[in-house]
Protein backbone atom coordinates (compact mmCIF):
# COMPACT_ATOMS: atom_id res chain seq x y z
CA UNK A 1 0.00 0.00 0.00
CA UNK A 2 1.46 3.36 -1.05
CA UNK A 3 1.47 6.55 0.96
CA UNK A 4 -1.28 7.92 -1.29
CA UNK A 5 -3.39 4.80 -0.67
CA UNK A 6 -2.93 5.16 3.08
CA UNK A 7 -3.97 8.80 2.90
CA UNK A 8 -7.05 7.90 0.89
CA UNK A 9 -7.91 5.19 3.38
CA UNK A 10 -7.75 7.71 6.21
CA UNK A 11 -9.90 10.12 4.20
CA UNK A 12 -12.55 7.45 3.60
CA UNK A 13 -12.54 6.57 7.27
CA UNK A 14 -13.04 10.21 8.24
CA UNK A 15 -15.79 10.72 5.67
CA UNK A 16 -17.65 7.50 6.44
CA UNK A 17 -17.65 8.16 10.16
CA UNK A 18 -19.54 11.40 9.56
CA UNK A 19 -22.12 9.64 7.41
CA UNK A 20 -22.82 6.46 9.36
CA UNK A 21 -23.02 8.02 12.84
CA UNK A 22 -26.37 9.73 12.22
CA UNK A 23 -27.66 6.45 10.74
CA UNK A 24 -27.03 4.68 14.05
CA UNK A 25 -23.94 2.81 12.88
CA UNK A 26 -20.24 2.89 13.73
CA UNK A 27 -17.09 1.24 12.43
CA UNK A 28 -16.73 -2.38 13.46
CA UNK A 29 -14.64 -2.72 16.62
CA UNK A 30 -12.67 -5.38 14.73
CA UNK A 31 -9.84 -3.08 13.66
CA UNK A 32 -8.16 -5.68 11.47
CA UNK A 33 -11.37 -6.23 9.52
CA UNK A 34 -12.01 -2.48 9.15
CA UNK A 35 -8.49 -1.95 7.92
CA UNK A 36 -8.72 -4.75 5.37
CA UNK A 37 -12.10 -3.58 4.05
CA UNK A 38 -10.96 0.03 3.70
CA UNK A 39 -7.91 -1.12 1.78
CA UNK A 40 -10.13 -3.07 -0.60
CA UNK A 41 -12.34 -0.01 -1.07
CA UNK A 42 -9.36 2.16 -1.95
CA UNK A 43 -8.40 -0.48 -4.54
CA UNK A 44 -11.95 -0.69 -5.90
CA UNK A 45 -12.12 3.08 -6.15
CA UNK A 46 -8.88 3.14 -8.14
CA UNK A 47 -9.97 0.33 -10.44
CA UNK A 48 -13.67 1.08 -10.85
CA UNK A 49 -14.18 4.72 -9.90
CA UNK A 50 -15.92 4.45 -6.54
CA UNK A 51 -15.39 2.71 -3.18
CA UNK A 52 -17.82 -0.10 -3.90
CA UNK A 53 -18.73 -2.65 -1.24
CA UNK A 54 -15.98 -5.33 -1.29
CA UNK A 55 -18.58 -8.07 -0.77
CA UNK A 56 -21.06 -7.12 -3.49
CA UNK A 57 -20.72 -7.44 -7.23
CA UNK A 58 -21.38 -4.66 -9.71
CA UNK A 59 -24.12 -5.21 -12.28
CA UNK A 60 -22.89 -2.67 -14.81
CA UNK A 61 -26.14 -0.73 -14.44
CA UNK A 62 -25.11 2.60 -12.96
CA UNK A 63 -28.28 3.20 -10.93
CA UNK A 64 -27.89 -0.21 -9.29
CA UNK A 65 -24.16 0.06 -8.79
CA UNK A 66 -24.47 3.42 -7.06
CA UNK A 67 -26.49 1.61 -4.37
CA UNK A 68 -23.46 -0.42 -3.34
CA UNK A 69 -21.06 2.49 -2.96
CA UNK A 70 -19.87 2.56 0.64
CA UNK A 71 -21.51 3.38 2.96
CA UNK A 72 -24.49 1.70 1.30
CA UNK A 73 -26.59 1.49 4.49
CA UNK A 74 -29.39 3.88 3.36
CA UNK A 75 -30.16 1.65 0.35
CA UNK A 76 -30.36 -1.57 2.35
CA UNK A 77 -31.47 -0.24 5.68
CA UNK A 78 -34.14 -2.79 6.52
CA UNK A 79 -31.89 -5.75 5.83
CA UNK A 80 -28.84 -4.34 7.59
CA UNK A 81 -30.84 -3.26 10.63
CA UNK A 82 -31.91 -6.88 11.08
CA UNK A 83 -28.31 -8.11 10.87
CA UNK A 84 -27.14 -5.17 13.00
CA UNK A 85 -24.36 -4.64 10.51
CA UNK A 86 -23.83 -3.89 6.85
CA UNK A 87 -23.22 -6.78 4.46
CA UNK A 88 -19.40 -6.61 4.46
CA UNK A 89 -19.27 -5.86 8.18
CA UNK A 90 -17.42 -2.55 7.99
CA UNK A 91 -20.20 -0.95 10.03
CA UNK A 92 -22.24 -2.29 12.93
CA UNK A 93 -25.06 -0.86 15.01
CA UNK A 94 -23.75 1.51 17.69
CA UNK A 95 -24.76 -0.95 20.44
CA UNK A 96 -22.71 -3.86 19.03
CA UNK A 97 -19.58 -4.82 20.93
CA UNK A 98 -19.02 -8.35 19.58
CA UNK A 99 -19.34 -8.29 15.78
CA UNK A 100 -18.36 -11.97 15.52
CA UNK A 101 -21.69 -12.91 17.06
CA UNK A 102 -23.66 -11.31 14.23
CA UNK A 103 -24.97 -13.54 11.43
CA UNK A 104 -24.77 -12.65 7.76
CA UNK A 105 -28.44 -13.13 6.87
CA UNK A 106 -29.49 -13.50 3.26
CA UNK A 107 -32.12 -10.91 2.22
CA UNK A 108 -34.92 -13.49 2.14
CA UNK A 109 -34.29 -14.42 5.78
CA UNK A 110 -33.85 -10.91 7.09
Amino acid sequence: MTMADATRKDALRYLFEKVVGPLGYKFTPDEELADFLLEQEVKLEQDHGAPFCPCQGRSGVRAEDMQIVCPCIPFHREHFDKMKRCWCGLFVHTDVTDPDSLPQLPPDEA
Partner: protein
Protein backbone atom coordinates in the same frame (compact mmCIF):
# COMPACT_ATOMS: atom_id res chain seq x y z
CA UNK B 1 -21.39 -39.91 -3.45
CA UNK B 2 -19.27 -36.78 -2.97
CA UNK B 3 -20.99 -33.47 -2.34
CA UNK B 4 -20.97 -31.02 -5.19
CA UNK B 5 -19.92 -27.71 -3.70
CA UNK B 6 -19.29 -24.56 -5.69
CA UNK B 7 -18.18 -21.31 -4.04
CA UNK B 8 -18.66 -18.02 -5.87
CA UNK B 9 -16.46 -15.44 -4.19
CA UNK B 10 -14.79 -12.05 -4.51
CA UNK B 11 -11.10 -11.65 -3.66
CA UNK B 12 -11.91 -8.38 -1.87
CA UNK B 13 -14.45 -9.94 0.50
CA UNK B 14 -13.32 -11.20 3.94
CA UNK B 15 -16.47 -13.32 4.34
CA UNK B 16 -15.61 -15.09 1.11
CA UNK B 17 -12.20 -15.87 2.61
CA UNK B 18 -13.83 -17.20 5.75
CA UNK B 19 -16.13 -19.35 3.66
CA UNK B 20 -13.24 -20.90 1.73
CA UNK B 21 -11.45 -21.49 5.00
CA UNK B 22 -14.50 -23.16 6.54
CA UNK B 23 -14.80 -25.68 3.71
CA UNK B 24 -11.05 -26.31 3.75
CA UNK B 25 -11.00 -26.78 7.54
CA UNK B 26 -13.90 -29.21 7.30
CA UNK B 27 -12.21 -31.08 4.45
CA UNK B 28 -15.09 -30.58 2.08
CA UNK B 29 -13.78 -30.39 -1.48
CA UNK B 30 -15.15 -27.46 -3.47
CA UNK B 31 -14.94 -25.80 -6.82
CA UNK B 32 -13.90 -22.18 -6.48
CA UNK B 33 -15.09 -19.43 -8.79
CA UNK B 34 -13.31 -16.20 -7.77
CA UNK B 35 -15.49 -13.93 -9.87
CA UNK B 36 -13.42 -10.73 -9.78
CA UNK B 37 -10.26 -12.59 -10.70
CA UNK B 38 -11.77 -13.72 -14.00
CA UNK B 39 -11.70 -11.55 -17.10
CA UNK B 40 -14.03 -10.48 -19.87
CA UNK B 41 -16.79 -12.89 -20.87
CA UNK B 42 -15.66 -15.43 -18.32
CA UNK B 43 -16.18 -12.93 -15.50
CA UNK B 44 -19.55 -11.83 -16.87
CA UNK B 45 -20.73 -15.43 -17.11
CA UNK B 46 -19.61 -16.27 -13.57
CA UNK B 47 -21.24 -13.13 -12.12
CA UNK B 48 -24.44 -13.90 -13.99
CA UNK B 49 -24.44 -17.49 -12.74
CA UNK B 50 -23.99 -16.32 -9.13
CA UNK B 51 -26.79 -13.82 -9.64
CA UNK B 52 -29.13 -16.44 -11.06
CA UNK B 53 -28.40 -18.79 -8.19
CA UNK B 54 -28.75 -16.32 -5.33
CA UNK B 55 -31.06 -13.71 -6.82
CA UNK B 56 -28.68 -10.97 -5.75
CA UNK B 57 -25.15 -9.67 -6.08
CA UNK B 58 -24.00 -10.31 -2.56
CA UNK B 59 -21.10 -12.64 -1.97
CA UNK B 60 -20.22 -15.31 -1.05
CA UNK B 61 -22.69 -17.49 -2.91
CA UNK B 62 -22.44 -21.15 -1.98
CA UNK B 63 -24.09 -23.95 -3.96
CA UNK B 64 -24.25 -27.30 -2.17
CA UNK B 65 -25.73 -30.10 -4.24
CA UNK B 66 -27.87 -27.57 -6.08
CA UNK B 67 -29.11 -25.70 -3.01
CA UNK B 68 -27.92 -22.16 -2.57
CA UNK B 69 -26.75 -20.26 0.50
CA UNK B 70 -26.16 -16.54 0.30
CA UNK B 71 -23.52 -15.29 2.74
CA UNK B 72 -21.20 -16.83 5.31
CA UNK B 73 -23.46 -19.26 7.13
CA UNK B 74 -21.64 -22.34 8.48
CA UNK B 75 -24.76 -23.65 10.24
CA UNK B 76 -26.63 -23.77 6.96
CA UNK B 77 -23.65 -25.30 5.11
CA UNK B 78 -23.51 -28.08 7.66
CA UNK B 79 -27.25 -28.66 7.44
CA UNK B 80 -27.09 -29.08 3.66
CA UNK B 81 -24.03 -31.31 3.81
CA UNK B 82 -25.66 -33.51 6.46
CA UNK B 83 -28.83 -33.68 4.41
CA UNK B 84 -26.87 -35.33 1.63
CA UNK B 85 -25.18 -37.67 4.10
CA UNK B 86 -21.87 -35.80 3.75
Amino acid sequence: MADEVVLYTLSTCPWCRKTKQWFADNQVPFELVEVDQLHGDEQDAAAEKAYQLSGGRRYPVVAINGEVVSGYNPGRYLELLKKSGG
